[in-house]
Amino acid sequence: MRKLLTGVALASLASLSFASFAWADIKLGATVSETGPASFLGDPEAKTLKLMVEQINASGGIKGEKIKLFLYDDGGDPNKARTFATRLVEDDGVVAIIGGTTTGTSMSVMPVVEDAKIPFISLAGAIEIIDPVRPNTFKTPHTDRMACEKIFDDMKKRGYTKIGMLSGTDGFGASMRAQCLAVAPNYGITILADENYGPKDADMTPQLTNIRGKSDIQAVLSPGFGQGPAIVTRNYAQLGITLPLYQSHGVASNGFIELAGAKASEGVRLPGTALLVGELLADNDPQKPVVMAYKTAFEKATGTPVSTFGGYAHDALRIFVDAVSRSKSTKPADIRDAIEKTSGLVGTTGTVTMSPKDHLGLDLGSFRMLEIKNGGWVLVK
C-alpha cells in the first residue's frame, strides 16, 4: 500500500513537472470526452487530433514551427472540462483550445477562454455556443437548429406537415428537441406527439406505440445520439411503422447502420456531412479530396471507420492551422483575429467562411440530406 501511495505521489509530481517543462513552438490545447457518456464522440475526436498533429509535424509543421498538443479527457464532466481549460490556459500556456465534445463541457470552458482571451473552437452542436457571438468562441459542427431546418425543409418538400417526435433526454436530444419545437412553425410543421426516452433505455416501443396511435402523423423525427436512436429504429421496424423516419446528425456514422441493422434502417433519412458519402460525391465537389484524404488517413491509422464527430475535430484543427499560417504572430489575440477571417476553408462539414457575426461559418447548403439504402448511404437530391 505504501508503495502504491508513493507511486501515486511520484506520478503526480511527474505529471506536474512534465506540464511545466514541456516545450514546443505552438502550444495547442484540447479537452474532449474520450471517456464517459459521450466517449463515442470524444474518442474519434481525440484520435483525429493526435493523428493530424503528428501528420502536420511530420510534414514540417506550420511555417516551420511544430505543434505541441496538450490533450485532456474530461469524461464529459463540465466541471472537469472547466478545470482542464484553466490548466491549459494557466499552466500549459496554450494559444488556442479545441474541444468541448458536448454542449455542457463547451459552455463551461467558455467563461475561462473569454476571461483569458484565448480562441476556442468547440466541437458541440448547440446553437447557444455561438449565438450570441462571443469574441473568442467558435465551433465547427452545424447547429442543432440547422439540423432541424434541414430536416423540416426535406419534410416540407415531401409534403409532410404533421409529425411525431421522439427525443433522447440527454443534452444532445433535449437541445435539438427544443430547437425543432422552436423552428417547426417556420416550415408549417405541427408536432402532434412529443415523446422522450432516457439515454440508457433498452426499449422504446411504448413511446412509438403512442406515436403510431395518432393517425394524423405523417413522419417521425428522432433526435438523439448513442444507442438510443439505433434502438428506436429497430423498435420502429418491429412495430411495423411504415411512416418515414428521420434521425439526426447525432447518428451520422456507419456504426449506426450496423447497430440498427440494415433492414430496420432502410429508408431512414438524416442530415449529415460529406464525410459519410465521400465516394458518392461528384469528382468536381471541392469537399471530395479533403474528405477522402481524412477518411483514408484515419481508417488506416485507427482501423475504425470514420465518423462525423472525428470530422468536427478535423475541421477545427484545419481552421486553427489555417489561421496560424495567416496570423501575424502566434499570440492568441492574433490567432483569434485570423480565425474570424477564415474564408472558403473546405472541411468535412462544408466550406467555412467566418465573420465577426458568424463564428460557425457554415450554411444549410453544406449539410447533406442522406438516406440509408441497402445498408449504405445515398445522397438525397
Binding site: M1, L4, V8, A11, S12, A14, S15, L16, F18, S20, E34, T35, Y72, D73, G76, D77, P78, N79, K80, R82, T83, T86, R87, V89, E90, D91, T102, T103, G104, M107, S108, M110, P111, D115, A126, E128, T169, D170, G171, A174, S175, A178, N196
Partner: protein
C-alpha cells in the same frame, strides 16, 4: 500550550490553505485548490451524516444540485442577488432534507442506500427534464457573484482562480470549524452515540429519529453550499452535479480519507480531486488506477487513509 484536537485540525487546515499558494507555479493550481475546497465542504457534510451519525446517503448530490441551481434560477426568476440565492438554496435543501429524511431515515443499510439514491436521481431528473426553467441537460449560466469586483474596487486585485481559491478556502474553514464544534458538543455526541449503538442511544434519552434527521438536514445544507460555490465559480452549471456519480464521489472521498474525522475526509476530497489531475499522464489507465485505489484503501485501511496512517505513526511512536 497544548492544542486540542479541534484546534490542531483547524490550524493544519488553515496553514495549508494560506501557505500553499506560495508554492503554486500557475493560476491553474488555484483552480484545483478551490475545487478541492468545494468538494471538501460537501464532504464535511457527509462526515456529519456518515462519519458521526453512521447513516448512508447515495443521493447527496441532489442537494448539491439544489444549491447550484438556486444560484442560477433565483437570480433569473426572482431577481435575487447570487449570494442570497445561495442562502435560499441552503434553506430549500434543508427543508427538502427534512421532508425526505423523515420517511427514508427509518430504513437501514442497503435499503437506506437505495432510497437516498432514488431521491438523488429524482432531483437530477427534474433538473434535466424541466428544460424550460433549468436549461435542461446542457445546463444553464449563473450570474457573477460580484464580490471580486467589489474587492478590486477596494484595492484588492485577485485573478478569478485566486479569488475563488480564497473564498472557497474560507468557506471550507468555516464549515470544518462548525463540524468540529458539533463533534464535541452534546448534539455531536448524541450522533456519534447512535452510530455506536442505536439501542443504547435511545436508552440514554436520545431521540434517535430526530437526531438522524438533524444530521441529514445539516449535511444537506453543506452539500447545498458546496453546489452554490461551484455554480458561482463556474458561471455555468449542468445537471451532472446532481447526478448519481457525484453522490458516489462525495461518499467515496469521505470514506477513503476517513469518514470519522473531519480532517481525514477533507484529505480524501483532496486525493480524489488531485488524482484525476495527476493521472492525466496515464490517459486511458486513469479509471483502472482510480478503481484500484478505492478497492485497496477500503480493503486494507478500513478507517480510511488519514486515520490509518496516523494510527500507524502513533503505533510506531509507542
Amino acid at each position: 500550550m497544548k492544542l486540542s484536537a479541534k484546534q490542531a485540525s483547524l490550524l493544519v487546515l488553515a496553514v495549508l490553505i494560506v501557505l500553499s499558494p506560495f508554492f503554486f507555479p500557475s493560476g491553474y493550481y488555484f483552480r484545483v485548490g478551490s475545487l478541492l475546497f468545494v468538494n471538501g465542504l460537501a464532504v464535511v457534510g457527509i462526515v456529519i451524516l456518515t462519519g458521526f451519525a453512521g447513516q448512508i446517503s447515495l443521493g447527496h448530490a441532489g442537494f448539491v444540485g439544489i444549491g447550484a441551481y438556486a444560484c442560477a434560477l433565483a437570480p433569473a426568476y426572482l431577481g435575487l442577488h447570487p449570494a442570497l440565492s445561495a442562502v435560499l438554496g441552503a434553506v430549500v435543501s434543508g427543508a427538502t432534507a427534512y421532508l425526505v429524511g423523515r420517511p427514508i431515515l427509518r430504513l437501514k443499510g442497503y435499503y437506506l442506500a437505495v432510497a437516498s439514491l432514488g431521491f438523488g436521481i429524482l432531483v437530477s431528473m427534474v433538473l434535466a427534464n424541466e428544460a424550460r426553467w433549468t436549461g435542461g441537460p446542457d445546463g444553464i449560466k449563473t450570474p457573477d457573484l460580484g464580490l471580486r469586483g467589489l474587492l478590486a474596487d477596494m484595492g484588492l486585485e485577485l485573478t478569478n482562480p485566486q479569488f475563488w481559491y480564497a473564498l472557497s478556502g474560507l468557506a471550507l474553514l468555516i464549515g470544518a470549524w462548525l463540524a468540529l464544534n458539533l463533534r464535541d458538543s452534546p448534539t455531536g455526541r448524541a450522533l456519534r452515540a447512535l452510530h455506536g449503538s442505536e439501542v443504547a442511544a435511545r436508552t440514554v434519552g436520545i431521540d434517535v429519529a430526530q437526531a438522524k434527521l438533524m444530521a441529514f438536514v445539516v449535511s444537506a445544507v453543506y452539500a447545498s453550499a458546496s453546489g452554490s460555490l461551484l455554480a458561482l465559480q463556474n458561471r455555468f452549471i449542468t445537471p451532472d452535479v446532481a447526478g448519481y456519480m457525484h453522490s458516489i464521489e462525495l461518499v467515496t472521498m469521505a470514506v477513503l480519507g476517513g469518514a470519522g474525522s473531519v480532517l481525514g475526509a477533507i484529505f480524501g476530497a483532496g486525493i480524489l480531486t488531485l488524482l484525476p489531475q495527476a493521472l492525466t499522464v496515464f490517459q486511458n489507465y486513469e479509471q483502472i488506477m482510480l478503481g484500484l485505489v478505492m478497492m485497496l484503501v477500503m480493503v486494507f485501511m478500513r478507517q480510511g487513509l488519514l486515520p490509518s496512517v496516523l494510527g500507524l505513526m502513533r503505533g510506531r511512536g509507542e
